[in-house]
Symmetry: C2
Subunit: 344 residues, 2 copies
């Protein structure tokens, strides 16, 4: 007997039991220093006994802070199939973990680039900030990103970390990664290195990787051949097509650096169909180290990005922005994973 045990306890219940007022409970639980240690301990004990949890909605409404972040995935415009880049999915783990660690909830949503996602989360007070994830046409993005900046919406973006990028960006050192790949190919004696991936301003990350490759080649005294660059988006089909067209062009090449593993896997299929041995005839390097990369035949040499660090950095940077600090752009180093496709 006493109070009804089924109703969820409120701060008033605790206040009553502790013999204090409701605001004191709020202060105690939020760590205000104007509550004596004894009172606080007592309140915390009672709260634990009652299994009390702060009502998120009331708290957010009053404080205008949600303690929630929103994660927006941008899908490649594949019509219906949910072909999300596995690389981003693998980042999900570290992002959720870091959010939990910092006491934030994570809202997740898949978006088409052309939607009005840029207004959906800021005004309805659903999140304190937004994490943007996904390859895609950067130019398409631009105006929406500018809109976010204008509205002072807090957000971080995963992508190419260049000076002209809008807002706060965290990303891998794509130029450095491209250099790693290029240097490795040069090291195993390749001089005619093709690049598969859109190297235009629409895909800054791929552009950076290509730039890194070129830099490594020049450092070895090799002039990159622009004819050995073929556009491709991150999909197996696109990689297959790009490799096919390269083969059809009749140009000679003894190595391929693909801008993503999916592209590389498509290219590998095209090479096999052309009876070219990998790596003997054409060495191959991918990017992302997706799980399938270690299952291909031959297994795929690739560049691994630091996804654990990436997730943590994204969350931390966003939280700093939310706190009012101006967080700086950050680049993470990448690592070359050597496998059979470059083992000569």
């Amino acid at each position: 007997m006493g109070r009804q045990p089924s109703a969820k306890p409120t701060s008033f219940d605790i206040a009553y039991l502790a013999g204090v007022s409701q605001p004191t409970v709020s202060r105690a639980l939020r760590g205000s220093k104007s509550v004596s240690a004894a009172t606080r301990a007592n309140i915390e004990r009672i709260a634990r006994e009652l299994n009390y949890t702060v009502d998120k909605n009331a708290s957010s409404l009053r404080s205008q802070r949600t303690h929630t972040l929103a994660l927006l995935f941008f899908e490649d415009p594949t019509p219906d199939e949910s072909m999300i880049n596995p690389f981003f999915l693998s980042m999900l783990g570290s992002i959720t973990r870091q959010c939990a660690l910092k006491g934030y909830d994570l809202l997740i949503s898949f978006q088409q680039m052309h939607n009005d996602w840029h207004v959906a989360y800021q005004d309805s007070h659903r999140s304190d900030g937004i994490i943007l994830l996904g390859y895609g046409d950067y130019q398409l993005y631009r105006t929406k990103l500018e809109h976010l900046v204008e509205m002072d919406t807090k957000f971080v973006r995963w992508g190419s970390v260049s000076d002209d990028s809008i807002g706060l960006t965290v990303g891998s050192d794509n130029v450095g990664a491209g250099e790693l790949a290029g240097a490795h190919l040069v090291e195993i004696g390749r001089r005619h290195i093709a690049f598969l991936g859109d190297a235009s301003e629409h895909a800054p990350e791929f552009q950076d990787r290509y730039a890194g490759l070129c830099r490594a080649m020049r450092a070895a005294g090799i002039a990159p051949d622009p004819g050995l660059q073929a556009g491709a988006v991150s999909s197996e089909a696109s990689g297959y097509a790009a490799a096919k067209s390269l083969l059809a062009s009749g140009r000679r090449f003894d190595a391929i650096f693909a801008a993503s593993d999916l592209i590389a896997i498509g290219a590998m299929r095209a090479l096999a169909e052309a009876n070219l041995r990998c790596p003997q005839d054409v060495a191959l390097i991918g990017f992302d180290d997706i799980p399938a990369a270690s299952q291909t035949s031959p297994t795929l040499t690739t560049v691994m990005q630091d996804m654990k660090g990436a997730g943590e950095l994204l969350v931390d940077a966003l939280l700093r922005r939310i706190a009012g600090a101006d967080a700086e752009r950050t680049m993470l180093p990448a690592k070359l994973i050597k496998r059979q496709s470059t083992a000569v």
Copy 2:
């Protein structure tokens, strides 16, 4: 001139502009029938002009409904690496999409089985219901699930759909899927079929798959050999170890049905090391159709679950439960994907 454009508009702003009271705005936007068509149209127009969105927190606080679902992933107790089963990740897409379609937000969280996740989401009013996803020791779960039922928390679970399972469950027809796999192996002439996967009550789904295999064998007049069943959790390492021990046992077998693709990939490696040809010496079938399954050598025959349907069904079933209806357990049919590992 007029009102300050930067402040987020509230229902009062709209009411003022429309010349009505705030509750009328609320009613109009929520679709109450006690608002005239003209008034409603006017309010909707103004709302659109002001870029008004309902404040989620206030709305949830008042109505005690959040229009948010929580998705809880249970990780296999891998110490630190975020090795989430790719199968569940692939369900993420359809779940988020279905949530969006129904006007619900999706909170996501990774959990260790032993945490107090069963209290974290219900009391703080963060979600209207919970979707539980993840393999894992079912027995460990049980008491927590019972607790959820007792607290009348709305939830759906992906898993084995059996009569004794607690709460609302949606899952593949694992027995039927096992039968499919077994029938196919029998069809290609195999009679000594091993099963890799924990077939105990701790893993009801694996148990069901094994039961299906046995049923198919018996239907073909073959007595299943209990000695050809080796426990394994869903990981490559575990599959490798299980296959190794089976090989070491000296028992003869000409086919393996693995309870998951990861197990199958591990087994494939063990077979290769033992100089057994796949499929000639040992045919192999996996389960899940993860992306890597089409990249192995030989490519892996596997059972594909209907993940798109699964996500939709999970969300719909949960929403029905939330609405007060008692949704029924549901099973989805699975499909056999034939590849090289069973092509004799």
